[in-house]
């Protein structure tokens, strides 16, 4: 357990390392979520387009 906390502390640099990794993960995931929402919007737009007389 002690070893885990030591690793988490990253030699005293944890306040820089974890936010850096966190930010990267957030941006990467947000990009994918954005594509998911874009896909839903695209599907709705296309369905409306094809319903037009």
């Amino acid at each position: 357990m002690n070893q885990f906390w030591q690793w988490l502390a990253m030699g005293g640099y944890s306040i820089y390392i974890w936010p850096a990794y966190g930010l990267v993960c957030v941006v990467l995931v947000m990009n994918l979520l954005g594509i998911k929402w874009q896909g839903i919007r695209t599907r709705k737009k296309l369905q409306q387009w094809f319903k037009r007389p």
């Binding site: 640099y13 820089y16 850096a20 990794y21 941006v27 594509i35 695209t42 737009k45 296309l46 369905q47």
Partner: protein, 247 residues
């Protein structure tokens, strides 16, 4: 080669082919990027000077490399659009710019988080940092230009011209550490020279580099597929696809 390029430039073939590639790409990205990050955080030894702070390299270098690589790729796409009039290239330009802006932002933000403990400051107007910031602004200008046009195809051409003009920033970013006396260190990796870091630190870096590159390809393909359907909505294959629920 050109025949293959023209075939892939056909919207229908692009859509079908990318649909087959995406699941494999997603799994590879998750495994390689996740594996590289875990290796870098858990098993790579601490640096003899920087201690554990150097581990930011595993997210900073790949994002910085990709911010430039995506722009270089956009330069190629701009030529394809302006010279060979390949419409797909124009559409991909904006998709690439969105992702490139994310990578440039990540490179600057993670670099700043690495700079604070090592240099004692979040930001300096150093040649490398400033030229990378200019790259982020270039991406912003490209995205603003693309969204300003009602006619997408006309917008793509303007974006292509702007991209070609902005290409001049790439050698400036790369050589800034040699041309000027900068706080930023020189390149860690080079195609021709021997790596400056030990293999135990190098391999996870190569893994994250490959993983993030695959991620970028994945995101560009996914974005492009959505945009393609909207632009090609007058084509019969899109109607069939929507009616069959294949979107």
């Amino acid at each position: 080669m050109w025949k293959l390029l023209y075939q892939f430039a056909s919207p229908k073939i692009f859509y079908n082919l990318s649909g087959r590639v995406i699941p494999w790409l997603a799994v590879s990205t998750l495994l390689i990027l996740g594996g590289g990050m875990c290796w870098g955080l858990l098993f790579a030894p601490p640096d003899y000077q920087q201690g554990d702070a150097f581990r930011i390299i595993y997210v900073h270098v790949p994002s910085a490399f990709l911010s430039m690589a995506i722009y270089a790729w956009m330069g190629f796409l701009a030529v394809l659009l302006l010279v060979w009039r390949i419409k797909m290239a124009g559409m991909l330009l904006t998709m690439c710019a969105q992702l490139g802006a994310c990578m440039a932002f990540l490179a600057l933000a993670t670099g700043s988080m690495w700079g604070k403990p090592m240099w004692g400051t979040w930001w300096v107007w150093d040649a490398r940092l400033t030229s990378e910031l200019i790259l982020l602004f270039l991406y912003g200008a490209i995205l603003a230009t693309a969204s300003a046009y009602q006619n997408k195809e006309q917008g793509d051409k303007m974006v292509a011209i702007l991209t070609l003009v902005g290409l001049v920033d790439l050698p400036i970013i790369h050589y800034s550490v040699y041309w000027w006396n900068t706080l930023h260190q020189g390149s860690t990796l080079s195609v021709f020279a021997k790596p400056k870091i030990h293999a135990s630190m190098l391999y996870p870096l190569l893994m994250t580099l490959l993983g993030l590159s695959l991620y970028c390809v994945l995101v560009i393909l996914l974005k492009a597929r959505n945009e393609l359907l909207l632009r090609e909505r007058r084509q019969s294959w899109v109607r069939v696809l929507v009616e069959e629920g294949g979107v």
